[in-house]
Symmetry: C3
Subunit: 329 residues, 3 copies
């Protein structure tokens, strides 16, 4: 969807230097750009390359010398954020055609708003409710009494177990599984055999959450596994039963959370991090990639980075590593 430079600038809070009427059709990287594109630079040192590219418009923090510049310039305090918003503006329009594909199988109890798009081979069980303008990709399976909010995007082949509740503007990538049974067994005292502890709680995904492909989120045993508003989860992440993940948390790919963990708001979790059951990561903590947190451990400190297994404050851990390296010489 084409937009004029002036229109984009107004939407993203940028100031225009140059032709406001110029039409932009997409965002691009500087290296891949062509006429009609908007590109951005974060650093002034990359500005010359951007100005020499085929792109029609450049988003930048500032341009000291505007002499001889023929492209439209959009000046914004945070070019990356402005660029992200421009991309969203240019992408908007109908991405998925509303309607229910003939091969979808919907239980008779399900009423679907005419703004909803249900793709081929989707299976929807009884009493499922789906909000306006939501898209359900091909091959998704939604168990009984699942609720999905509005403006959600659920990519193909996602499985959602019965009773899972999903908020508005949630994005779930292909192959993810929500609401599978938690991993809980009781060993028989004599035989040592494991008997299944009930896994009959549920999963609740709040608004604006994004969930990566093939990620799994288990239902609570008796309680609820909750993912807080605005939290972003990468691919192949495992979230165990009864975990309470706060708002605005970043969880990179392949991180894993065993049961009953609390992650407070604004925590950042690196890739392949593992957290033991009943641990608590307090507000604003950063956990470096591959770190391990012991069961029941509490990590605290807004903006404090932890690293290693068992995870320690970064400075302390680096000192240990340095000493270890010395020993190894």
């Amino acid at each position: 969807m084409k937009r004029k430079v002036g229109e984009i600038a107004a939407a993203v809070g940028a100031r225009v230097v140059g032709d406001e009427q110029l039409e932009i059709s997409r965002v691009a990287s500087v290296a891949n750009s062509r006429a009609g594109d908007l590109v951005f630079v974060e650093d002034e040192k990359h500005l010359q390359v951007a100005l020499a590219s085929p792109a029609s418009a450049v988003l930048a923090k500032r341009v000291a010398n505007q002499e001889g510049i023929t492209k439209a310039l959009l000046i914004a305090a945070n070019p990356r954020l402005a660029f992200a918003r421009a991309a969203k503006l240019l992408q908007s329009g109908i991405e998925h055609r509303p309607g229910i594909h003939a091969t979808a199988v919907l239980h008779e109890s399900v009423a679907i708003d005419k703004t909803v798009a249900i793709d081929a081979r989707v299976i929807i069980d009884e009493n499922v409710r789906i909000g306006r303008q939501t898209w359900i990709g091909a091959g998704c399976v939604m168990g009984a009494s699942v609720t999905v909010g509005q403006d959600c995007k659920i990519y193909p082949n996602v499985t959602i177990y019965p009773g899972t509740r999903i908020g508005d503007r949630v994005v779930i990538h292909a192959g993810a599984v929500l609401g599978s049974d938690g991993f809980g067994y009781v060993p028989h005292p004599e035989t040592g055999r494991y008997e299944k502890f009930p896994q009959i709680g549920t999963v609740e995904i709040e608004d604006d959450v994004e969930i990566g492909s093939n990620t799994t989120i288990d239902r609570g045993a008796l309680e609820t596994t909750r993912i807080g508003r605005g939290t972003k989860i990468g691919n192949l992440v495992h979230i165990g039963h009864n975990c309470l993940i706060g708002e605005n948390v970043i969880i990179a790919a392949q991180a894993g959370f065993s049961g009953s963990i609390t992650i407070e708001n604004n925590v950042v979790i690196g890739g392949q991090v593992g957290v033991g059951e009943h641990a608590r990561i307090q507000e604003g903590v950063l956990l470096g990639g591959q770190s391990g947190v012991l069961p029941k451990k509490v990590l605290r400190g807004k903006g404090i980075a932890f690293w290693g297994t068992p995870a320690k404050p970064l400075r302390e851990y680096l000192k240990s590593l340095a000493m270890l390296a010395k020993l190894g010489r």
Copy 2:
């Protein structure tokens, strides 16, 4: 399915104090309980809260002072185990309606017992055999000559490659893949290019195994990958070709096993553990989360915990960690 307190007590081996005729409709946590619920407490210190909850019945080890208690009490030596069994009793009844959904695609050679439930869009190839009372969830794909025992639950979107054999009462969660090719290549001595080593063995899952969502179990190269009776496997676990996993093994989420590993009975494997090819973990060993076991390594010692990479007896590893921490100060 409602059950009387007396009926539950008899089934789980508990002694009733109070009204045996009281009807219970579900199990619940104390925090989520309402009238009609059965809750449990493991510790006497949690008893007062349970007794003050809206639940109708409480399972406990013992109740020293029964004065003034209006709820039904179920006294059992192992309240957690008794609670798990009560939950199973209350859940039982028809969960999945027998029959073959009209959109399922079954090869003409497949004979399905009328007690089997095949959901929408299931694909079943030739010579597949499925035992009585088994449920196959929507979107599952079963290759030729797969056999599945009775009373199994296979959740949606599971893929089972040809020739895989599955025992009775096996539970497989959504998105799991059984029988995919193992990871085996032969480098060409001159070009360095990899040519595929044959991956034409099979996978055998014994009775009472549970497999987590999006877990992958590769077929043997020329032999069989086997998962022993009663073993429980979490989400996103990888089990490579030719692995022999014993009985009653616990494997937590995201653990990974490369090829030809032997895990003996009653081993407990923590989350994100990695085991190198041809390693052997002997009976009853415990491996802490994120541990790494080197190829060909043998770990032995019933009830002995190992931790770290390379995995060492816990005590030894903790000493090293403590020394390292000292150095870091």
Copy 3:
């Protein structure tokens, strides 16, 4: 498909001692062999067991004493490679019947060659192109403008996002996801909320790549995520946006790559390895299982093994470990 010993020997570059007319129906391990099988031994010490097995023919490097041997012998410089090729020869023939299953849903713009096999419930969106003799397994979903080369095998329930390009002879195992959005967000400077950075690049898979089950490969943000020719990827691997993986790279199960990483040709990556963004692993480096590479780090050295987190040359790391173990005593 049966083949004569002489025919196999000619195809794999082996010399026959014994009956060239003998018919072989399959390859097998020595332990599982029966009449009609071809087995192989790499070491002379395993030769006697192979000769005593029920197999009809044995592939070996050399056989010092051929007296009294009744089996056909195939002598090759690299028995493992010759065996792999013999297996391929014996497997060949029509594995998947060409044609489009009645339950597949193809956009009207899609033209499929009559040598292509499209299984049940496959969904193919507009402008998808599929090469000759390619097989698409049941339940796969292919977004708009995906291209797939010839002689590919795409196993069931794979999801391929729009625009993904796949070369010839590529194998993709069940549940894999190609082209999902990369993990990129811009924090709002005031609210701290994350806004999505555009993930509108693409994924390109070159010829002869194999991708394991439930592996995820994200599309580039603005650029292309590329997997080079002949690279083999295990199960449950995560490859982030903008990664450039070279040719002939081995990536074992559960390894994870965050964004914008470069892996040069002929690198070997162990299981559960994690690599930070913008790192570069140079030609021919070997990374041991569970290693971690820091963001922006460059690892160099053809044939040099690295291990640990942060990854160091193996010798150095082993020294540190030895010192640490001493301290722990």
